[in-house]
């Protein structure tokens, strides 16, 4: 871009100013406060706008002039434009092309006309920091370094002007985030969700596969159960055949047995018919006849014996007379009276005994009381003698002897007293014994008188005699009673014999025998007929038994059914002989056991079959589930491929961007170092520029070390930054629109030597990049004019304050 003309209607202190810029280097020279910096700002503001309201107000014209400016410029491709901007309204911008058509609408960014940004390819801050160096602000703002670096990278091969690599990377990252997501994302994570769905589908498919394998196991179990069932079924069929064989043998044997029974029954029935005459002979008649016959014989014998016994027991006449006499004499004395008499007799005897004993005791007591008189007299005499001897010896004063005599006398006195008491007691006991003897004698007398009153009138001496008479009376009375009793028995026996005879006659009549026959003849007839009847009964019993055997043999069958069964079995098994040593029962038991096993096997078979069928019905379509898994896997693969491709794209663009940065940094270093060496007279020949932060380091010749510009002098630092700016601006021209370089008094603090070294460089730069230097130095302007610079003198205006 090359600035052609600037017309400022009103901008800060500038009012109605017109500036025409040269093709290459233009020096705008003016005194301080002439508005040089305002011109630089007005150029930027016309291209990019003034920004927000505070910035807009800061440059509002001091006078009442219209707050507007017009800038004409041409682009590298030759197109020419005129921008008319009224700064009060951000939208009040017109951009006219060569044909006078307002194309402001096509140069809009964010709906606002931005001819500077569109045509230069850089935003306002990049332009200001890279191409528009304000007075004393020659160093780069670090906050804009990234934007400048980005713009430089685009300029040096970064990408189309309308879309940057940074934006492309952002787009790719957005796509990655939107269509793939991250592992940590929970909402917008399509790849993660697809993986989870694939895993879930795989789990379902695996479960179905396991069910399929389990189904195979169940089928194996079913086959096993079926094989076991079939084996049991075969065993059952075999045992059935063996039972049929045994059954056939049994049926044949039964039919043979039934035939034999039928023949025997016919034979016995013929014999049985021969005893028809005794058909109604009572079975018990012979027994009753025998019993009645025996009764007759026995009762007759008993009647005869009883008659004999009655005759033998009857008392004689003398005995009858004796019994009558005794009954008269002692009949009135019953047993109670007899007992009382016995008691009284006994009491009389006991009282007599007691009287004798008491009399003897009284005699002995009296004798004992009289026996001690001599001893008592001798003791009295001895006591008197010792008493007197005591007196004598006391008088004789023989005291010792006297005392001894006195003691003896005292002892004698005591002995006398005791002896006297004993004698009195004995006399008392003798009188008591006598009294008891007298009482016993009285009692004996009373009892004897009672007995005597009963016995004496009957001429009986004592009770014993009375007892003997009573015994005889009883004996005679008993004999009379027994005789009467036997007479009764005889009569009863005779009556029984008569009854027995009548009963026997009735039986004989029942047997239709002639009662007139001899008893023995009758007896023989009875025995004969009874024997025939018994024989007939035996045949009948035999018939019954045979019928029973036949019935038993048949059981619930009938012979016709057995015959049919024999034919059926014969047709089925032919003439297979029965097994020897194996009973039908054993076979049936074995069949029952096998049948039970078969039923159990059938149950198991049915159970396993039901399980198998249920499992088969529940089997999912594994292939369809695997289709689903494959679809999810394909989706995962698709997204994963997208992720890989986008990641590769991002990395490629990032690498290329970084590479572009690095390339621009290297070129910046090369160019700046060359220029810096020139203006520092070769002292600083090496520069390093960080491609991201644009931090500049220079190598110090003495230490060979790179140090930041901050550590150099202010003049040197400004030199370094200036050449860096120029280098940047030159490099913009390589890829983007070449911006005009606006330098606001950059050499204000430079010495002349440095300025002299700078001017050729500026002139060289201006050959490819329009350079406008605003300065107050006439000398610098004059020197620059020597390098072909266009010099514009900016006169200070006296503002008309509105």
């Amino acid at each position: 871009m090359k600035l052609r003309e600037l017309h400022v209607a009103g901008f800060g202190k500038l009012v109605e100013r017109e500036l025409a810029f040269g093709e290459g280097l233009t020096i705008v020279v003016g005194e301080n406060e002439a508005g040089k910096s305002t011109v630089a700002t007005a150029i930027a503001a016309t291209l990019f706008g003034v920004g927000r309201k505070d910035a807009r107000d800061a440059w509002r014209p001091w006078s009442s002039a219209r707050y507007a400016a017009t800038l004409r410029y041409t682009l590298d491709d030759g197109r020419a434009f005129e921008v008319q901007r009224a700064f009060d309204d951000a939208k009040a911008v017109s951009v006219y092309d060569r044909n006078g058509v307002d194309i402001a609408g096509s140069l809009a960014i964010a709906k606002l006309p931005a001819p500077g940004e569109v045509h230069l390819g850089v935003p306002y801050d990049v332009f200001v920091n890279a191409s528009c160096v304000r007075q004393r602000e020659i160093d780069l703002e670090s906050k804009c370094a990234s934007a400048i670096a980005g713009a430089l990278s685009r300029a040096l091969g970064g990408g189309p002007k309308e879309n940057a690599a940074v934006a492309a990377i952002a787009t790719l990252q957005d796509a990655l985030r939107d269509h793939v997501g991250t592992d940590r994302a929970t909402k917008n994570a399509p790849l993660k969700i697809a993986r989870e769905r694939a895993a879930q589908a795989r789990t379902r498919a695996d479960a179905a596969r396991r069910a399929l394998h389990a189904l195979a196991d169940r089928r194996t179990a079913y086959e096993t159960a079926r094989a076991a069932h079939d084996a049991l079924f075969a065993r059952f069929a075999n045992i059935e055949r063996r039972i049929d064989v045994a059954r056939a043998a049994t049926v044949r044997a039964r039919l043979q047995k039934l035939q034999e029974l039928r023949d025997e029954i016919a034979e016995v029935q013929t014999a049985h018919a021969r005893f028809a005459d005794v058909a109604d002979w009572p079975n018990d008649l012979a027994e009753r006849f025998a019993r009645s016959d025996a009764d007759c014989e026995r009762t007759r014998a008993l009647a005869a014996a009883a008659s004999d016994a009655a005759l033998a027991a009857r008392p004689s006449a003398s005995e009858e007379a004796e019994r009558a006499a005794l009954e008269t004499s002692i009949g009135a004395i019953d047993d109670t009276a007899y007992a009382a008499l016995c008691e009284a007799s006994c009491q009389a005897r006991e009282a007599g005994a007691r009287a004798s004993e008491a009399s003897a005791a009284a005699v002995a007591a009296r004798h004992d009381g009289e026996g001690g008189s001599q001893i008592f007299g001798a003791l009295v005499a001895a006591t008197a003698i010792f008493a007197m001897a005591t007196v004598g010896f006391v008088v004789a004063r023989d005291m010792l002897v006297g005392v001894l005599c006195a003691i003896a006398a005292i002892a004698g006195g005591f002995a006398l007293a005791r002896l006297s008491a004993r004698r009195s007691a004995k006399r008392k006991r003798a009188s008591e014994a006598q009294a008891r003897a007298d009482a016993a004698i009285g009692a004996e007398r009373d009892a004897a008188s009672i007995v005597a009153r009963v016995l004496e009138p009957r001429g009986i001496v004592n009770v014993d005699e009375l007892g003997r008479r009573r015994d005889r009376f009883r004996e005679l009375t008993e004999r009379a009673r027994r005789a009467a009793e036997r007479t009764g028995v005889s009569s009863e026996a005779t009556a029984a014999a008569v009854i027995a005879d009548r009963a026997l006659a009735a039986i004989v009549a029942e047997a239709r025998l002639d009662a007139a026959d001899e008893r023995d003849a009758i007896r023989m007839h009875v025995r004969d007929r009874d024997a025939r009847k018994r024989e007939r009964d035996g045949l009948a019993a035999r018939l019954e038994m045979l019928a029973f055997q036949r019935n038993s043999e048949l059981g619930d069958d009938d012979e016709e059914a057995l015959l049919q069964e024999r034919e059926r079995l014969a047709a089925r098994i032919g003439d297979t002989p029965p097994e020897s040593g194996v009973s039908h029962r054993a076979l049936v038991d074995e069949r029952a056991e096998i049948e039970a096993q078969l039923r159990a096997a059938e149950g198991r078979l049915a159970e396993t079959q039901a399980t198998l069928r249920a499992s088969e019905e529940q089997i999912a379509d594994v292939a369809a589930l695997d289709d689903e898994v494959a679809r999810y896997d394909a989706e995962v693969a698709r997204l994963d491929a997208f992720r890989r491709a986008v990641t590769l794209a991002i990395k490629t663009v990032e690498d290329r961007t970084k590479e572009a940065h690095e390339r621009f940094a290297r070129r910046l270093e090369d160019y700046a170092a060359r220029t810096f060496a020139t203006i520092t007279a070769g002292r600083y020949g090496e520069i390093k520029v960080d491609p991201t932060t644009l931090e500049v380091n220079v190598r110090v010749p003495e230490t060979k070390a790179f140090i930041p510009l901050d550590r150099l002098s202010a003049g040197t630092r400004d030199q370094a930054y200036l050449v860096t700016r120029i280098a940047m601006a030159r490099m913009f021209s390589e890829g983007l629109e070449t911006p005009p370089l606006l330098l606001d008094d950059p050499v204000a603090f430079w010495d002349e030597a440095r300025i002299a070294r700078l001017l050729p460089l500026l002139a060289e730069a201006a050959a490819t990049m329009q350079t406008v230097v605003f300065t107050a130095s006439e000398a610098f302007a004059t020197a620059a004019a020597g390098f072909g610079a266009t010099v514009i003198r900016l006169e200070a205006q006296t503002p008309a304050i509105a």
Binding site: L212, A630, L648, T652, T657
Partner: protein
């Protein structure tokens, strides 16, 4: 007496398909193909049917498949010989090992050669896959003991002709087969059928799968082996498939919008119907911001068996873009070079996709899978 053998392999009943639709239809087509194989064998009065493995997929086949196979074998009525493959290896759970095996079916249930006299002078030697990888089946095989025509039946890989990406199983070489004494090897595993001749006679025969399973497999069908009285052998290939897989490239150059892309696609797919399963690759330069929704396109052609759309269109010519001295140009040049120089197909595909995405991102288009 001439002898006729019907041979098939790789029916892959109950296999799985990743298409969004049509999986069950194609599985039904596989079963129908086997029915047609039996129909053909019956119609031509084949004396035996040999199956060279992978009749079904063991991990998905269930009782229904077992009943189907048993019924078909019974329907054929003549001897059926099955050499299990790597997808249906013989084991306790092999479908034809369960229950009552039809009496005319013989399974080679060992990883060893077992003979069966088909007719006087014709012996069939079978080798079955079991759970373990069987190794080289012809390493020690010798079939010349009984004289006559020796026919080998195994599911294996002709290792010198293994298709790309195909896993080899039971590998063998032509020389190994020749040394074994086999006059003819009837085999399976490769879904694209072919016949190798030796001294002008058919020697190794792959029938191919009766129905296509994946794209680009080759010929499909079954084989009839005619053995004449003089022991000469002739092969006849008979197609029995119903479904077809097509890889179609649809050039959408200069398509101004998605409607134009749709029109291109409609023209490219006009000849296909419900038995056609198509994978179409959209290529060419389309106008920037042309939205190609592959799912929408796949749904729009529902009358096909299935449609898989691969969008390889680009809104700008990458060769031109690569010449730009910009980050975009350099990035696209990088990716072009990466795609061309790598032998890894996946890496090349990634690079091609990345190239499209870079171009889209720089042009402000929507980057989407």
């Amino acid at each position: 007496m001439p002898y006729l053998i019907a041979h098939c392999a790789d029916v892959h009943l109950e296999t799985t398909f990743s298409n969004r639709r049509g999986g069950s239809y194609r599985r039904r087509a596989l079963a129908d193909a086997f029915v047609r194989i039996v129909d053909e064998a019956i119609a031509r009065a084949a004396d035996a049917l040999t199956i060279g493995g992978d009749l079904y997929e063991a991990e998905r086949a269930g009782p229904q498949t077992a009943r189907f196979l048993a019924n078909e074998c019974v329907r054929f009525g003549k001897p059926v010989f099955v050499a299990p493959g790597n997808h249906d290896p013989y084991g306790p759970h092999h479908l034809l090992a369960r229950g009552a095996l039809p009496p005319n079916v013989r399974i080679f249930d060992e990883a060893a050669w077992r003979p069966y006299a088909l007719a006087e002078g014709i012996t069939l030697w079978g080798f079955g896959h079991t759970g373990a990888e069987p190794g080289r089946p012809f390493a020690n095989a010798r079939f010349d003991r009984s004289g006559g025509v020796q026919i080998a039946l195994v599911h294996g890989s002709d290792e010198s002709r293994c298709p790309p990406g195909k896993r080899a199983t039971a590998p063998f070489s032509e020389d190994e087969v020749a040394e074994s004494g086999a006059d003819l090897l009837l085999t399976g595993h490769y879904h694209g059928g072919y016949t190798i001749e030796r001294a002008g006679k058919p020697f190794i025969a792959y029938p191919g799968s009766p129905e296509p399973i994946k794209f680009g497999e080759g010929a499909h069908g079954m084989l009839f082996v005619h053995i004449a009285d003089d022991a000469t052998i002739a092969l006849e290939r008979v197609p029995v498939g119903r479904t077809r897989l097509h890889d179609v490239t649809c050039a959408c150059d200069d398509a101004p919008d998605d409607r134009a892309v749709h029109a291109h696609l409609r023209a490219a797919l006009a000849a296909y119907d419900a038995n056609d399963f198509v994978r179409v690759r959209l290529t060419g330069l389309v106008a920037p911001a042309t939205r190609i929704e592959t799912d929408e396109l796949e749904d729009a052609f529902a009358h096909l068996g299935s449609l898989e759309v691969i969008d390889a269109t680009t809104a700008c010519d990458p060769e031109l873009l690569a010449q730009e001295r910009t980050v975009r140009g350099h990035s696209i040049a990088d990716l072009l070079q990466r795609a061309r120089n790598t032998s890894d197909r996946e890496a090349a595909a990634d690079a091609e996709r990345a190239l499209r995405y870079v171009a889209l991102a720089f042009s402000g288009g929507e980057v989407a899978p």
